[in-house]
Assembly symmetry: C2
Homo-oligomer: 209 residues x 2
């Protein structure tokens, strides 16, 4: 921290002001996209709602997609911390089923959180019809969290708990995608029982053993 | 057919005209929702594009959601016939894996069909942020086709090919939802190899046997 004190006396205040502005911009961006949708959300609108100048936003980000991407990353980290988890890890207790069930239950909670729901839906809807945006958010937001499942399934494969010929990137979709589809398309209720069942079916299969 | 001949001489012509109008209205509705999205699609716009009076549409349907619902049902039936399938059945050859793979391969073809893609994406996107529309289209369009998998999995359960304690309505999501998510969110390529793999993973599980 010594290098901070070596800056001008006003630096800590400026850093606090910047941090407040950054969080206000995230809040404004998430609220706007939830209320008016992605196409009608503008940098001007975000700036007005956050109470900052448009140039403050352009100094830190080059587009509304960039602002929203970082706002969502921040939201995901907040949610993980609120759930008492490391933002970027799936536990490895040695019990694969239990570890996957725990993470999916936390995801169920997150999907039911109104702070998360409206902006996420607005952005997911835009991604369905706007391939460039869809691919960008998947690459930067969704895929990194799916890779955590890849890591966990690889370590399970190394431990002999998953078959050697299983592709972890496809395997994770057996329990992640059903939950995503129920959330996106209202195809069924989202509960702990449901995600526990998905994990059991995926790990042990539908056919008799 | 005798009762048709007992009608007035102009009845067959009127029926042909009605059928032509109905198909023109479906085409117009699907094209418009693909081009301008669901919120900006109107009965007036559909009528103008189909070359029919607004009252013709209101005589047969009560809302744009109703028109689109039937247009999609018709599109699905056309696609099934083009793929050489009965529109409302999953084959039961006694080989569950082969039957599921065949139907999912046909779905892969349908998802790659540009006639299907743009209007389906526009409607799916609207359903993500418009819960009433989303639930309605799921209930009337998606759920009936999912029930075909329920039927096939039930008969497999009766034949001892699926465990007795498996809930078929959840089980089908292990291979249907990953394909849906890759299509909706651009999370990965959609190929026959991919859907074949999903079926194998779901039926035999990820853990060693």
């Amino acid at each position: 921290m010594a290098h901070q004190h070596s800056a001008s006396p006003s630096a800590p205040d400026a850093a606090r002001r910047s941090e407040r502005s950054r969080l206000a911009i995230y809040d404004a961006a998430l609220a706007l996209v939830a209320e008016v949708g992605y196409p009608k959300t503008t940098i001007e609108g975000i700036a007005a709602r956050a109470g900052v100048g448009k140039q403050t936003i352009y100094r830190w980000w080059s587009s509304k997609a960039d602002v929203l991407l970082e706002a969502f990353l921040d939201l995901g980290e907040q949610a993980a911390r609120a759930a008492g988890q490391e933002p970027h890890a799936i536990p490895d207790t040695g019990d694969l089923a239990a570890d996957l069930k725990q993470v999916l239950r936390a995801t169920v909670d997150e999907l039911h959180d109104p702070v998360f729901e409206a902006p996420s839906r607005a952005l997911a809807a835009e991604g369905v019809v706007n391939e460039e945006l869809g691919r960008r958010f998947v690459a930067q937001l969704l895929e990194p969290s799916l890779q955590l499942y890849v890591d966990r399934l690889r370590s399970a494969r190394d431990a002999g708990d998953v078959r050697a010929d299983v592709d972890p990137r496809i395997a994770l979709e057996l329990f992640v995608s059903p939950l995503a589809q129920r959330w996106l398309q209202y195809t069924g209720p989202i509960t702990y029982d449901y995600t526990d069942t998905l994990v059991d079916y995926a790990l042990y299969g539908l056919t008799p053993r």
